[in-house]
Symmetry: C2
DNA sequence: GTAATGCGTTACGCTCCATAACGCTCTTTA
DNA sequence: TAAAGAGCGTTATGGAGCGTAACGCATTAC
């Protein structure tokens, strides 16, 4: 093996840091192009040109276009997961309903601010690719749900859990996710363009509340 | 203008009928390939080869790939619309709740049986294309909703309308659509693979009932 | 200081898209 | 029935992108 001296910051040699930086730059450039032309029309040539390189150079970092896309998908998962955690934690741990609503809002806001990443994760999967062995996609779903599941668990722990629409809590969470996701994806893909911002915000709150009730989160007190 | 004789069936000359048949064959072949490799990787060459033609011949029928895709999207809309109508009409016009549930089920079943078409309509839109001037996508949404709106109108007419979650009926229908769509798209894209068929069917019924209540359709009697 | 590794370049073959130029077949019309 | 023309498919051609190969420069290791 080649030496590993010069390990100054984080156990990474200078070369490794530069390489990691280039990888990030490539992914950033790719994401920008996806935002312009969609993930389908992503061209290695364009990526290279947009960052002052020649196309073959990219093969030093990614074996092919699919590997690059896979990396972008993985990053998108991390981004979503981080965004959900961050948004949720803006609300006091005691306010469980508030935390649920915040998580839903975080999901929506993340989708709005990261349309390319959202499309990468939840857009039409390519039959062959995009769901290689049931792997990343399913994992993404679980990770997205873990946040909600955690909330439900917290709620149940404190005995404030309402009656979910289905007995199995995990199933109830899936339904709640579907309820929120349906709104978010329709909005993200322009199917709610006929509504103005105020209406969309208002409706989303209603939908999130519905999801909360589905998961058995919100106390049924709001319906006498 | 060239003559228009030989108009035997439906005002179409023999040539026009043959041409229409070829168009259908091309679209059929294209849809099959999309089912295998996704709409992104659709190649004119493959289409031509799969039907024993040479690639340039296709340009007699479609100016380019986008025009072909646009035609496929339009067809998908028709297919969805037809499927919803057909499914709904399997239930007696008097059974409004049943018609709503049937419509929801029709939406889901259509998505399951026409994954390529579903992805074409509701999959990740290409930023430039796929929503050219707010046109077809928005139209699709409205057409899909018209069926539900019709049901709601029928219900209201007979005074059996419950109290929707939001005052505006149109907005309520959008939320109901989002609720159903979220389930369908997550299931279609494999995010519910951890559930078996029985659980998915059961959960969908719950979700559809939730959507009905959102739209103010189901009488609130089911909650004492 | 020398050898080796990493990284970027130019050069190449392959495939596909899209157009052009040509020929066959069927339809139209006198 | 014979000639003219439109429609449709073919082969031929140019251009672009993908992916590999072969080469050169900088950095790093010993």
């Amino acid at each position: 093996m080649a030496g590993e001296s010069n390990e100054v910051s984080g156990g990474l040699s200078r070369r490794e840091r530069v390489r990691a930086g280039t990888v990030e730059e490539i992914k950033h450039a790719a994401l920008g192009l996806i935002g312009e032309h969609g993930s389908a029309n992503l061209r290695f040539t364009d990526i290279a040109r947009s960052m002052g390189m020649t196309p073959p150079a990219l093969y030093r970092y990614f074996a092919d276009r699919d590997e690059l896309l896979t990396a972008l998908v993985a990053d998108s998962y991390d981004s979503l997961s981080g965004a959900l955690t961050a948004t949720r934690d803006t609300v006091s741990p005691d306010d469980l309903d508030g935390r649920f609503l915040a998580t839903c809002t975080g999901y929506r806001t993340w989708a709005q601010r990261n349309p390319e990443r959202f499309a990468l994760i939840f857009g039409s999967p390519v039959p062959g690719y995009a769901a290689p062995v049931e792997g990343p996609t399913a994992v993404a779903g679980r990770r997205a749900m873990e946040h909600v599941a955690e909330l439900v668990a917290d709620t149940a722990e404190r005995g404030r859990l309402g009656s979910p629409l289905v007995p199995d809590a995990e199933e109830a969470i899936l339904l709640a996710w579907a309820t929120v996701h349906g709104f978010v994806i329709l909005e993200a893909y322009g199917h709610f363009d006929s509504l103005d911002q105020e209406a969309r915000d208002r409706l989303f709150t209603v939908q999130a509340g519905l999801a909360a009730r589905t998961a058995g989160l919100a106390p049924p007190a709001d319906r006498p």
